[in-house]
Amino acid sequence: MNDSHQDVFDNIKGTVGDVTVDNPKMRLSNVDVFYGEKQAIFDVSLDIANNEVIAMIGPSGCGKSTFLRCLNRMNDTIPTCKVTGEMSLDGEDLYGPNLDTVLLRARVGMVFQKPNPFAKSIYDNVAYGPRIHGLASNRAELDEIVVGSLQKAGLYDEVKDRLDAPGTSLSGGQQQRLCIARTIAVSPEVILMDEPCSALDPIATAKIEELIDELRQNYAIAIVTHSMQQAARVSQRTAYFHLGKLVEVGSTNHIFTNPSHELTENYITGRFG
């Protein structure tokens, strides 16, 4: 961090706006994340609400993806990473004994930046989660889950004739919707999306955005995005991260029309980022 960065960093004092909501689905308080010696997230608190899309925006390296990965403890897969703070799902501690990573990730699903279908058929890709969690007791139930998930992901009509084809044979946008279907198939309560459209063309992006809006009816959704237009289109609440701190949280409308913090305004108006 050079001097000007240091100044900016020191001037971010707490978060502007209300980080809490009534009846939060997930509540994170005073979260710090370290990669080895380096601290990536500084004292961030944020609630995730039901039936709502919260967008996390900010310049590259601001910690928004790292924060997202705290929500389902994906950071555990990185050996040097250390997370401290209080995190809960429906009031249950994420690091408590009753909620190990397997259960947590079944309830908090994740869609990644680059579509990452397994080297399996379309059917097996979607059936993967239900199979490992034993959600279906017979083939008919499994079929039902797979078809239902593909339908919810808006992919079923395109692939219903070739469920045996490898997942990797689909186009990029279809692959990403397959990954969303795969996530839905384990009936999660929260869906995390880490820049789900950054590898996709505008038409595929539009389809995913529509899908996110529909999924909001049933899930709590947190999405990290580089595109401010996307954040404005799909989210109800927006969180602006900068240099590992949460600068401002508020309704999307408020953040994009009348941001309270100078840094947020600079970012929204395109002065950096």
Binding site: M74, T101, A106, K114, N116, A119, Y128, G129, I132, V186
Partner: protein, 462 residues
């Protein structure tokens, strides 16, 4: 002047012409306002001149050396007395050899035949004239070639395509060498095998169940006529390779998964090289280990539970061979497992899969094509292995699938057939080539399958 120094001289000339060519290209460029005015880079012009200097001269030197021998030899023919010619070809050869020896040694004793001495002297003078002529001719061609190319350097001379074309030619030539060698090996084995199959029917060889290659050298000698049924050998090879793969595949694969997925970078940095040391141990040492440690151990164990185990058993050889090829399986599998994108592991653990579920259901299937390729390569290695079998499994060609008995393999028989003083026209010796041919075909098929599998499924996850 010897050929070596002539070659060196030609290369020096080529280098000098490269320098001159480049110099001239720079000069031409300066006259036309910078190297941008040239069609190609100055280095290309230099290379063009150098190659024009070296290649024709090299072609002449090589061609000369090829044709010099036969021409000199036919000149020599004319100086051989008719009396020798009448005695037949062998006498002529002998006479020529004597002349050659005389010419080479320069020792002319008093008993030497005057005619021979004269011929030897003529031979020497022809050779020295030839050497001088070659030197003058090739160097002249080199200089003329360089000069012609040098004169051609203008702004629009297309030197780059010429140089690129020649580079391409050398690359193609290098690639052909490996292929031509394979073809050459195949043919040399094929012709000897054909000679074998003239004496022993191919049906008997492929379907016979008795292997006893001892044949009597003289007709009046007591001894068996020899039987050449290759099935016991191939069954023995199959048995030992199978035992080896049963050891190598599970252990190799599991250590690969441990190294790629579970081990910390520190552990990996220590364990992986240690495992690869296994591949560096000479097979003879494995042979000692199998014959002196493993085989007696198996025998004792077997006898303690009431089994009869021969002191040289397929099991001992196969197990030790399996340990030897563990690094092939583990190292190749480790590479392909590591190459599976992290995104796929994240996708799986993001759905709540445990580490072992991720490995078994996502990483392993994605890496499977590469793993199969590695296993098949290890199998070819096991089939071709000789030393451990010689020392630990014996030489008896038993037709058995009992791993506790002594068996022998194709490669071991080839070695025993070809070592020692042998006649090269007996069926016994020629059988080695037929065995080699069949082994070659077997491993070739395995390799083709391996390549096909790897190619078909490669990059499926990208």
């Amino acid at each position: 002047m010897s050929t070596t120094s002539l070659l060196l001289l030609a290369l020096c000339l080529a280098f000098v012409s490269f320098i001159f060519g480049r110099q001239k290209a720079y000069a031409v460029a300066r006259a036309h306002g910078g190297t941008r005015a040239l069609h190609s880079l100055p280095g290309h012009y230099g290379l063009m001149v150098g190659l024009w200097c070296a290649l024709p001269a090299l072609a002449i030197i090589i061609g000369w050396k090829i044709f010099e021998g036969p021409i000199v030899s036919s000149l020599l023919d004319s100086s051989i007395p008719q009396a020798i010619h009448d005695k037949g070809d062998k006498a002529v050869e002998l006479y020529k050899n004597e002349i050659n020896n005389l010419a080479a040694s320069g020792k002319i004793s008093e008993e030497s035949d005057a005619a021979k001495v004269g011929a030897a002297n003529r031979l020497n003078s022809v050779r020295s004239y030839s050497a001088i002529a070659l030197m003058i001719f090739s160097l002249a061609v080199a200089v003329i070639g360089a000069a012609l190319a040098y004169r051609k350097i203008k702004t629009d001379t297309q030197a780059r395509p010429i140089v690129e074309g020649i580079v391409r030619f050398f690359l193609v030539a290098s690639a052909s060498i490996a292929i031509l060698t394979t073809v050459g090996i195949l043919f040399s084995v094929l012709f000897e095998s054909a000679r074998f199959f003239q004496q022993v029917s191919i049906v008997e060889f492929v379907t016979g169940t008795k292997w006893s290659p001892q044949t009597a050298i003289r007709a009046d000698q007591a001894g068996s006529s020899g039987s050449f049924g290759a099935i016991p050998l191939f069954l023995g090879t199959l048995l030992i390779s199978l035992i080896a793969m049963l050891v190598a595949v599970p252990f190799g694969l599991m250590s690969a998964i441990y190294l790629a997925e579970y081990a910390s970078p520190r552990t990996r940095a220590i364990v992986k090289p240690l495992l690869e040391i296994l591949a560096g141990i000479p097979t003879v040492v494995y042979g000692f280990f199998a014959a002196l440690t493993v085989a007696p151990l198996i025998r004792k164990l077997g006898e303690s539970i009431g089994l009869s185990v021969s002191s040289e058993s397929a099991l001992a050889a196969g197990m030790v061979m399996g340990i030897m090829i563990i690094p092939f399986v583990s190292s190749l599998s480790d590479d392909v497992i590591t190459a599976v994108p992290q995104a796929m592991r994240d996708g799986s653990s993001g759905l709540g899969a445990t580490k072992s579920e991720t490995v078994r259901k996502v990483v392993f299937p994605a890496a499977l094509p590469g793993i199969v390729g590695g296993v098949l390569l290890a199998a070819s290695r096991a089939i071709g292995e000789t030393m451990i079998v010689v020392m630990a499994a014996g030489l008896a060609a038993n037709l058995t699938i009992n791993p506790l008995e002594a068996v022998t393999t194709v490669t071991v028989q080839i070695v025993t057939l070809l070592t020692g003083d042998q006649e090269f026209d007996s069926a016994k010796t020629l059988a080695a080539f037929a065995l080699g041919l069949m082994l070659f075909i077997t491993t070739l098929i395995l390799n083709v399958i391996a390549l096909h599998v790897v190619r078909k499924y490669r990059e499926q996850y990208d």
